[in-house]
Structure formats: structure tokens, C-alpha cells
């Protein structure tokens, strides 16, 4: 027989959600254990930009200590077609100095490890290389409550009156718990984006030259158009210190239906000369992939039960609009879960009613307000494809026609160019599509 290890809170998963929860709990003097299945925090995690508004509240001097790559002082939105391209770059002087618009390029295997060390320094205990197989339950009258976790291959039992599930998008334990506890799922099933990411090594000066950056500053670019063959999604290119992160996020349901492979889409994206010029001469250092929950607020179900709180990607808290905001929301939900757990400990009440303070605070936060604006996002894959396919080519075609040098009065050129760009487009439908899209983007 193993030992029974008791603590005040157990957190499952050492991603931004779980680690922020653990940091807050430990800082407030609670005993907390974080269980992580990877050999170190971040070993399994992948993302793009880190928005740091929540982190700045939790660890105000993070910028001087965290392993950050570059602050994003310049952003770009690009359209790609087989024929041409158009690129809108924008930035602000303000973004080149603290707080750098709270937007950073980070590598999660490094960042999460650092955040874990911060949580440990605050007093949390990290248990790496351990898979939580399931939750421990206890029947109490007519209700079932969560009382701890069962770790694979471990005889010891780990018990706590509150378990915070921060498993991320794959969420096997969360799924099982929802079933077992009869927690209501969202109004619609969760849908997903598949994110693919390649890391390319290049000298810092080459990166700065290619992106037109001041030394130490960074760029984030997003691209839509022909490489993605009308699927909902797009590519990204972010600058590290001496690396570029190149990748894409494409709606899984679309890709499946169109029978397209992520490898072919990624290679198609990279083959476009507008993209390959940035990575030319580089060496591939790493390749990775991960799911992202993109169902929006209607896919978020009940997040609390007796002794249980679900946070971050496991809870479906991702803003899948043009902002791609996941890790900042994961951190916020982790912090709110910690606050609810602290309150529950003060009251000695770990019932669903008590822990649902978390859901209440979530509902009042910017997170849910942003997410609510995306309530129609699940229809995006029905509306977007036409736009994704047609708009980039029409728009870049229009620009190319406008600037093509021919012997014709400029007014005629403009007239022809606009006629060609709008040719065959059912006017009402396009306007309606754009309107729907605007609403879905929040």
C-alpha cells in the first residue's frame, strides 16, 4: 500500500493556465502540487505570441527575467495569391519600448519552464514526468465530489479538496470527468484548429534586415490566401532572437472535408516566394503540431463541480478571431480559479456553489466579454471559405491592375480595374458575407 499525500490544491498540467493558478495559490500561502506529464514544463506545449497583460499583473518584473524572444513592435497582415501578394504592415513607436504593447514572441518549452520555476519559488511543488490517469471521487449522499488525482503507475494517492484541471486542448481526464460527473457540455460540440509550427535558425542581423527591424525588436505577420486553398485559416511568421517561427492554423473540419494534409498545406505556404524569402538560408531546428479549441463561447460548458475547476484550453477558453488569444486567457482563468479556491479554503466550502465563484468572475472578465462576441464563430467555416478563396485574389488583382503601367488614361484604368474586381460577384452576398465576418471577428 502506498501513502496518502494530502495537500490543499492539486493542479493538473503545467501550461500557462495551471502554472498561473499554482503561482497565485502558493503566493497566497496555500499548499499546491502541480502534476505535469512532460519531463519538464512546456515539453509538450506549443504556441505563437504571448500576450502579457495578465502575466504583468501576476509577475510585474517578468520582462527582465523571463526567457522572451522579441517584443512585437511591428505587425503585418498579408494576402497571398499564386500571381501576387499584398501586405499591410503597421506598428507604433510606442511598441518599441516598455510595455511593448504586451506582445512577445516566446518559445513555450522555455517560457513554461521559467513560469514553473517562478511558481516553485513562490512555494508550489512541481511533480514532473507524471501522468494524471483519472480523478479520485467520493460519494457523499446523492452527490459525487472530486477529492484528488490518481497518477499512472503510482501507489501513493494524492488528495486535495480542490483539483484544478489545466490539461490543455487534448484533455482526456477532463473529458472523462465531465462524463462521470454529468457536467453539462456546451450548446455545441467543440471544434478545433490544427496548429503547425516550424522553427528556423537565422542570424539576428539577417532577421532584422529582412523584416526592417531595429535591433532587438520583433515582427509578427499573418497571411491568408491561396496556399490555404479556401480553408478557414492562415499562416504566421514570428521573429525570435535568432530564429523564425513559421506556421499555420487551419480549421480541422475544413481540412478533413477537403482531404488535404497539413504537410502539403504547410509546404504550399512555404513555397510561396513571399514566404520563402524570409527563411532562405535558414536551418530547420524543430517541427511541432497541436490542436486549438476554436468553438467559441457556445462550446464552453459547465466548468465547476464539487471539488473541481476546469481552466484554459481544457475549458475551451480561446479567442479564435484574428487575435488568436489563448495563453493570456489561460493565465487569467488560472488566476481566477486560484482566487475561487482560496475563497473556498477560507470558507471551508468546496461545493460546486462555492467554487462557481470562478464561473462568475470569468463571466465578468474581459475574457468572456471577448468570447461572447464570437458566439457565431462556429459558423465561420461555412461563411469564410468563399471569402478566403476569393477576396485575396480579387483584392491583390485589383491593386495589380491599378498600378500596372499601360498607355490608357488613369481614370479608365481605375474603372476597368474595379469592374474586373467585382465581376461576377453577387453583390448582396458579398456584402452580407463581409458583414457576418465582421460580426464574427468581434
Amino acid at each position: 500500500m502506498g501513502e496518502e499525500i494530502e495537500t490543499q490544491v492539486i493542479v493538473v498540467g503545467a501550461g500557462p493556465a495551471g502554472l498561473t493558478a499554482a503561482h497565485r495559490l502558493a503566493r497566497e500561502g496555500l499548499e499546491v502540487i502541480v502534476v505535469e506529464r512532460g519531463p519538464y514544463a512546456g515539453a509538450k506545449n506549443l504556441s505563437g505570441l504571448l500576450y502579457s497583460t495578465v502575466l504583468a499583473q501576476e509577475i510585474p518584473d517578468f520582462a527582465s527575467r523571463a526567457p522572451l524572444e522579441r517584443p512585437v513592435s511591428q505587425r503585418g497582415i498579408g494576402l497571398l495569391t499564386p500571381e501576387g501578394f499584398s501586405l499591410l504592415c503597421f506598428g507604433s513607436r510606442k511598441w518599441s519600448s516598455p510595455p511593448y504593447n504586451h506582445t512577445w514572441v516566446v518559445y513555450r518549452a522555455q517560457f513554461d519552464r521559467w513560469l514553473a520555476s517562478e511558481a516553485e519559488a513562490a512555494g508550489a511543488t512541481l511533480l514532473e514526468g507524471s501522468v494524471v490517469e483519472d480523478l479520485l471521487y467520493q460519494e457523499e449522499g446523492s452527490r459525487t465530489k472530486v477529492v484528488g488525482v490518481q497518477i499512472r503507475g503510482e501507489e501513493d494517492t494524492f488528495k486535495a479538496p480542490v483539483v484544478i484541471l489545466a490539461e490543455g486542448a487534448v484533455g482526456l481526464v477532463s473529458e472523462r470527468a465531465r462524463g462521470r460527473l454529468g457536467m453539462s457540455s456546451g450548446q455545441i460540440p467543440q471544434s478545433y484548429g490544427l496548429g503547425i509550427k516550424e522553427i528556423w535558425a537565422l542570424p539576428a542581423s539577417t532577421i532584422e534586415d529582412r523584416f526592417g527591424l531595429e535591433p532587438g525588436c520583433g515582427a509578427a505577420m499573418e497571411w491568408v490566401g491561396s496556399p490555404f486553398q479556401g480553408l478557414v485559416g492562415g499562416g504566421f511568421l514570428y521573429t525570435g532572437k535568432e530564429t523564425l517561427a513559421l506556421g499555420m492554423i487551419v480549421k480541422l473540419e475544413n481540412m478533413k472535408k477537403a482531404k488535404l494534409s497539413p504537410q502539403d498545406l504547410m509546404e504550399g505556404f512555404k513555397a510561396n516566394p513571399q514566404i520563402s524569402r524570409y527563411i532562405k538560408g535558414g536551418e530547420l531546428l524543430e517541427y511541432g503540431a497541436h490542436l486549438i479549441p476554436e468553438g467559441g463561447p457556445k462550446a464552453v460548458g459547465q466548468l465547476c463541480h464539487h471539488g473541481l475547476i476546469i481552466v484554459g484550453d481544457a475549458a475551451g477558453l480561446v479567442n479564435a478571431s484574428i487575435y488568436h488569444e489563448g495563453s493570456n486567457l489561460a493565465m487569467l482563468s488560472g488566476r481566477l480559479a486560484a482566487e475561487a479556491a482560496i475563497q473556498a479554503h477560507l470558507l471551508g466550502d468546496f461545493s460546486r456553489g462555492s467554487l462557481s465563484l470562478y464561473e462568475k468572475m470569468l463571466g465578468e472578465s474581459f475574457l468572456m466579454k471577448d468570447l461572447q462576441r464570437l458566439k457565431n464563430i462556429e459558423r465561420a467555416h461555412l461563411v469564410f471559405p468563399r471569402l478566403m478563396d476569393e477576396l485575396p485574389s480579387r483584392f491583390t488583382g485589383l491593386l495589380a491592375d491599378l498600378f500596372e503601367q499601360v498607355q490608357m488614361p488613369k481614370q479608365e484604368i481605375r474603372k476597368h480595374a474595379f469592374q474586373k474586381a467585382l465581376e461576377g460577384l453577387p453583390k448582396f452576398k458579398t456584402v452580407l458575407d463581409l458583414w457576418k465576418m465582421r460580426r464574427m471577428l468581434g
Binding site: K44, L46, L285, Y287
Partner: protein, 108 residues
């Protein structure tokens, strides 16, 4: 058993086959505990075999000369979660690899 191919084969140019990309990924392979299993009976009746094209690590391959038989190269798995969601026929049993095993990103 550590599988560290990183940097073994320099690849000229930017376009790359999947195998070449997977060489750059570090894994701690657990040969005795495959974390993915397929139900060959369900697979043999499966229509479009989504797993064979949707997996970003090419884990699922139709066995040559054995149509409908799915080979699982679990040691290449990036643990992204896609196949579990994409296979709607319940042909796949997917679990987390054992603690500390599987993919380990250096960047992520």
C-alpha cells in the same frame, strides 16, 4: 531509448518531406508502451481513412499490399490530439504516453 536525429542530415533548400522534419524533433521513445492503438476491424470498413492524411506526423499508414490495414508509427507522434478528434468511427484508442515519455520540444 533516446532518439536524437537532430542535425544529422543537413537538408538543402526549404521544401522538405515530412520524414526530414521529424528528424529534427526530439523524443523519448517508449517502445514497450504504444500509446495509440487502432481497431483493424473498424479500419477495414472505414471510408476515407482520415487518419492517413490528417496526422501531421504521418503516424498512420496503410500497410502496403494490405488495403484497409493501418500501421501505427506511434514513436513519431507529436501528441497534437488531431487523430482522436478526426476519426469519427472510433477506430482509435489514444492515451497519453507514460510520464516523461514521448515528444519533448526544445522550442515549442
Amino acid at each position: 531509448m533516446s532518439k536524437e536525429h537532430s542535425g544529422q542530415k543537413p537538408w538543402e533548400g526549404l521544401q522538405m518531406p515530412l520524414e526530414e522534419k521529424l528528424y529534427r524533433v526530439r523524443y523519448e521513445v517508449d517502445p514497450d508502451h504504444p500509446h495509440i492503438k487502432v481497431n483493424q476491424e473498424i479500419c477495414s470498413r472505414c471510408g476515407d481513412r482520415v487518419c492517413t492524411f490528417i496526422c501531421p506526423a504521418g503516424v498512420y499508414v496503410e500497410s502496403p499490399g494490405q488495403p484497409g490495414h493501418i500501421q501505427v508509427r506511434h514513436e513519431n507522434c507529436l501528441e497534437c490530439g488531431t487523430c482522436r478528434v478526426a476519426c469519427t468511427c472510433e477506430g482509435i484508442t489514444w492515451d497519453y504516453p507514460n510520464g516523461g515519455m514521448g515528444v519533448r520540444y526544445r522550442f515549442g
